[in-house]
């Protein structure tokens, strides 16, 4: 009987440890980003180029995460990318002429949307569109321009 109890205890301990490890991996090692609100409103912005922005990327204002990208689609009529993202409803006083830019966190980090406040008295709400989008900075394009410039200078 004692033997069986030890086996059962060992098995229970093992499975509990496994579950704890899985829980740790899913919650601590993956992107929590500190944003998990259900009470949100959706906003859209059009970008010429989204770079490598992905759905679930954070939306930050003044460096604080206030929302998350939900969808990125290509608009075949206007030939640009429509990025939809949700913002936590508690931030309902963001001026509607705020600009949105696609930024990179660190040199090799992932891309996110950074918003800069405008001065309008009208606030962003469900279905608003941001008028001042700034596309992602594509490093290859910058290098290309720089090389073109330096080669034309040398002539």
């Amino acid at each position: 009987m004692r033997q069986t109890r030890a086996v059962e205890f060992g098995t229970g301990l093992f499975v509990l440890m496994g579950m704890a490890a899985l829980f740790f991996l899913t919650t601590q090692a993956t992107g929590g980003d500190g944003f998990s609100s259900n009470d949100v409103f959706e906003v859209q912005a059009r970008f010429e180029n989204v770079g490598s922005l992905k759905p679930r990327a954070p939306v930050a204002m003044a460096g604080v995460t206030i929302g998350r990208v939900t969808d990125i689609v290509f608009d075949p009529v206007e030939l640009n990318a429509v990025v939809s993202f949700v913002i936590d409803s508690q931030y309902d006083q963001i001026p509607d002429d705020s600009s949105a830019a696609i930024l990179t966190s660190g040199l090799l980090g992932s891309q996110y949307i950074g918003m800069e406040a405008g001065g309008s008295e009208i606030y962003l709400e469900e279905g608003s569109e941001i008028f001042l989008p700034q596309s992602a900075i594509i490093l290859e394009n910058l290098i290309g321009k720089f090389l073109m410039k330096s080669s034309s200078d040398s002539k």
Binding site: V7, E8, G10, T11, L13, F14, V15, M17, G18, M19, A20, A21, L22, F24, L25, T26, Q28, A29, T30, G31, G32, D33, R56, S105, G106, L107, L108, G109, S110
Partner: protein, 254 residues
């Protein structure tokens, strides 16, 4: 000479087919054993899982620590040493966790299963059970197979988590990477899908490793030499099959 090669190939195809049939019988009998004789399965989860904990945890810790060191040495060239956490997490969760756990599992638990069953066969215990009207497949083989399948994903998760802890200890403690950057960059790039990939892999490897170990023991030549060879074969074949499947799952997941 040619005749030998021909015979060897025919024998391989025959053994492969025999394993498939055996595997189907294992699967067909698994649900009823799982629900009706769960205590047998628990005993095997203890044998394969709990008793493998020490080797898994020690190896996981040192693999993570090495990843921290190697990642630092290489990423520091690009001034990207903050990404050591990301590097270690991806390597552990998606590849090294499931694969090394499966190889250790084959060495620690697979050999135990193969030699135990092989010895039962060599000492006619399996035949004796059949005489008593007990199906050894259901009483002996299926619980061991299920125990391995259940234990593997947990072992792999423990391996990855302890590995991350090792990488953290080396990266943050020894090499002085900022603790915030270490975890935050990891959290930004690792997604739930990556962890799912790791779980799927470890589950598939669990099925492979335990079914092969059980099969090798069951089909062993019932002599001392035969049991020894079956034990060796279970490790060799499991290692090969696990690495082939690892490549295929990764190719599909990308």
């Amino acid at each position: 000479m040619l005749r030998d090669i021909y015979n060897a190939m025919m024998e391989f195809v025959r053994a492969f087919g025999a394993f498939q049939l055996f595997f189907l019988r294992l699967l067909a009998n698994s649900p009823s054993i799982f629900f009706k004789r769960f205590s047998l399965v628990v005993k095997q989860v203890y044998n394969t899982g709990t008793l493998s904990l020490v080797i898994i945890m020690v190896c996981g810790f040192f693999v993570g620590a090495v990843l921290g060191l190697q990642g630092y040495a290489n990423l520091a060239r690009f001034n990207a040493e903050d990404s050591v956490g990301t590097f270690a997490a991806f390597a552990l969760v998606k590849e090294l966790g499931p694969v090394i756990t499966a190889l250790l599992f084959a060495g620690r638990a697979g050999t135990a299963l193969a030699s135990e069953i092989g010895l039962m066969k060599a000492t006619n215990q399996l035949s004796a059970m059949e005489m008593m009207g007990v199906d050894p497949l259901r009483r002996i083989l299926v619980p061991r197979f299920l125990g391995g399948v259940i234990a593997m994903p947990f072992l792999a998760a423990i391996f990855s988590a302890i590995g991350l802890f090792g990488a953290h200890l080396v990266g943050v403690g020894l090499l002085g990477i900022d603790v915030g950057a270490f975890w935050q960059l990891m959290q930004q790039s690792l997604e739930i899908g990556d962890i799912q990939e790791g779980i799927v892999k470890s589950f598939v490897f669990g099925v492979i490793a335990s079914s092969l170990a059980v099969w090798e023991g069951y089909s062993a030549i019932p002599t001392a030499e035969g049991v020894g060879r079956a034990t060796t074969r279970s490790v060799v074949i499991t290692a090969i099959v696990v690495l082939i499947f690892d490549f295929m799952i990764t190719a599909v997941a990308l």
